[in-house]
Symmetry: C3
Subunit: 131 residues, 3 copies
């Protein structure tokens, strides 16, 4: 298992980690298989979306904060109940197909670490199964 | 990696692709393992739900559109910010167990391509790892 | 494929199944690979979140019920349209990395079966691929 270290700067933000994941695949010379990208935190998640226009990232984090406000009379008293809920909605693990030594992503797709309780030092774990 | 081609007809709809995925498994004589179904688009997703009563599909797409309206002052100016957000909420990749040459699904489950910015020509990518 | 049987007691609740999944991994002496945890139901899902403070579980189920109310003029007439929608939002399958014979989870993470239409007798299916 490989680790990617991330330092987030906002409370909520999407951080593009596509190149870092591809580096691991390239470094291990994985030609064909599946890559698993796992977030070991309970107030952050992982998602795939457009990495061309940054306004898409902003719309995703803003809309999540609108649906799940940060102060809505939650039971959890640490002030980040909303972050936990966002984590479960986006999910913690992404499998991505590898072919020809490359992550198989669509033309507009990037892999994003979804911070919901930053700024923090975070980790992403990467594992792969060869075909 | 195998490709499934889909033509969607509505802006938002669920398209049952269970039989198409099963055909790929059967064609490759995969007896046991994991199948990965991946959507390479940023305004569509993939989900498993009931494929008996079509009203369930309608409730899923209608409710998503209620939670994430199509015109809510988004930053992204292409008119499909809502579609991007729906894509991240449903997710882009589904692993499904294969046993005895069949996708292991519950009695009421089907695999759906979730269009959120149609009508369009779309692709779904299918890969598998044998056990 | 291994089966975990669950009896839920509430309409909506998170049931921690981390130990049961780990028992299967340990029993099969899987040292390294990926574990797939699959829910074969259309009104329940699977999620990873904090298993230290139970108020987090309550906030997740309560907030989901607020976003997706149980009586909102749905088309599906069985009274559980909301449960189907929640199932698609949380998802049905989780891949988790295995290393050194253990599920690789973050310090605060547990694996939860997410009941949305209980009380019911439920199943969770577990499969693994060795690395």
């Amino acid at each position: 298992m490989q680790r990617i270290n991330i330092k987030t700067v906002e409370r909520s933000e999407l951080v593009d980690i596509t190149d870092k994941v591809q580096s691991i695949i390239s470094g291990h010379k994985i030609e064909q298989g599946i890559c698993f990208i796992f977030v070991p935190h309970t107030t952050a998640g992982i998602t795939i979306n457009e990495n061309a226009d940054p306004s898409v990232e902003k719309d995703i984090t803003d809309t999540l904060s609108k649906i799940i406000p940060d102060n809505a009379g939650y039971s959890h008293v640490e002030g980040n109940a909303d972050s936990h809920i966002k984590s479960s909605l986006l999910g913690n693990c992404l499998p991505v197909i590898i072919e020809g030594g490359r992550l198989c992503l669509g033309r507009w797709q990037g892999i994003f670490f979804a911070e919901s309780d930053g700024p923090r030092s975070r980790e992403v774990w990467v594992e792969f199964i060869k075909k």
